[in-house]
């Protein structure tokens, strides 16, 4: 009797707890690490050595473009301001990226 009672008291909650542990999404990693890309560091990099066809450089540009869009005050303000900011960002992109959606 005692053992069956302890099974219900401890075993069942433990079973539910175990069942809730499953595959996790990248969002769960974000709980532990909340850091923003330090895009200001890109300004200090030697631009003459940067190859815009290099996937690493393209990935950095992608990341920092998104970051700039998120951080710009225009993105929190009016639609016109946001659109203006987007146009500026599009113009500053190298020709290879002109087709990006």
């Amino acid at each position: 009797m005692k053992s069956s009672k302890s099974f219900f008291l401890l075993g069942i909650p433990a079973l539910f707890l175990a069942a809730s542990v499953s595959a996790h999404s990248p969002k769960e990693h974000m709980k532990d690490v909340q850091q923003k890309p330090d895009c200001a560091a890109m300004k200090d990099m030697d631009h003459s050595k940067m190859d815009m066809n290099d996937p690493v450089m393209q990935a950095m540009m992608q990341k920092c473009m998104k970051d700039m869009h998120q951080d710009s005050p225009a993105s929190n303000g009016t639609y016109a301001g946001h659109q203006q900011q987007s146009e500026k960002a599009e113009q500053s992109k190298p020709p290879r990226h002109a087709h990006e959606k």
Partner: protein, 197 residues
Amino acid sequence: MKSRPLLSCGKYLLGTGLFALAAGMAFLYSGWYPIGADVPHNGLTYWALETLRERSIARASADIEVPGDLGTPKRLLAGGADYNDMCAGCHLRPGEKESDFTLGLYPVPPNLSLPHAQADRKDLTAQARRRFWIIKHGIKASGMPAWGPTHDDERIWNMVAFLQRLPELTPEQYQILTARSDEEAMPQGAIQDGNQP
């Protein structure tokens, strides 16, 4: 008459084998082998375990098909964030030389941020297969977990893609590529690929 020496030879071999088995079992149960991670294996044990590991991985990963788009920015961004969260503690970031894990784990996890020897395309393919298999399945008694049960193949290939470029990254490039934003937290396919026409 001729079978008698053969019989005695067989008995001798059987006796030796049984003795070796008994001695091995006695050693196993004695607890004399130093199992602590702070005492290295002897040369023979290290060689045997390393050979076992490498041969097993090579055989198991031989038929894995490597995606042709490992070099895309999309994969670098997705894989970089996961590497930073899941792997960098043991396999280090650019500019790091050690961590608590590299000092405490045995065998010492390889520093994947260091430049590796120039490899030809065939080697790179084999290396990609090997890394994919290790990330997915882990390695017994080494501290390397199997990420397969919680991460799908695409995410693992993203990490493999990032590993290929990791030794070339500066600490600043690494920080930008691995920092997570809301975009990276979106499901697979949501991140746009700058290489697509």
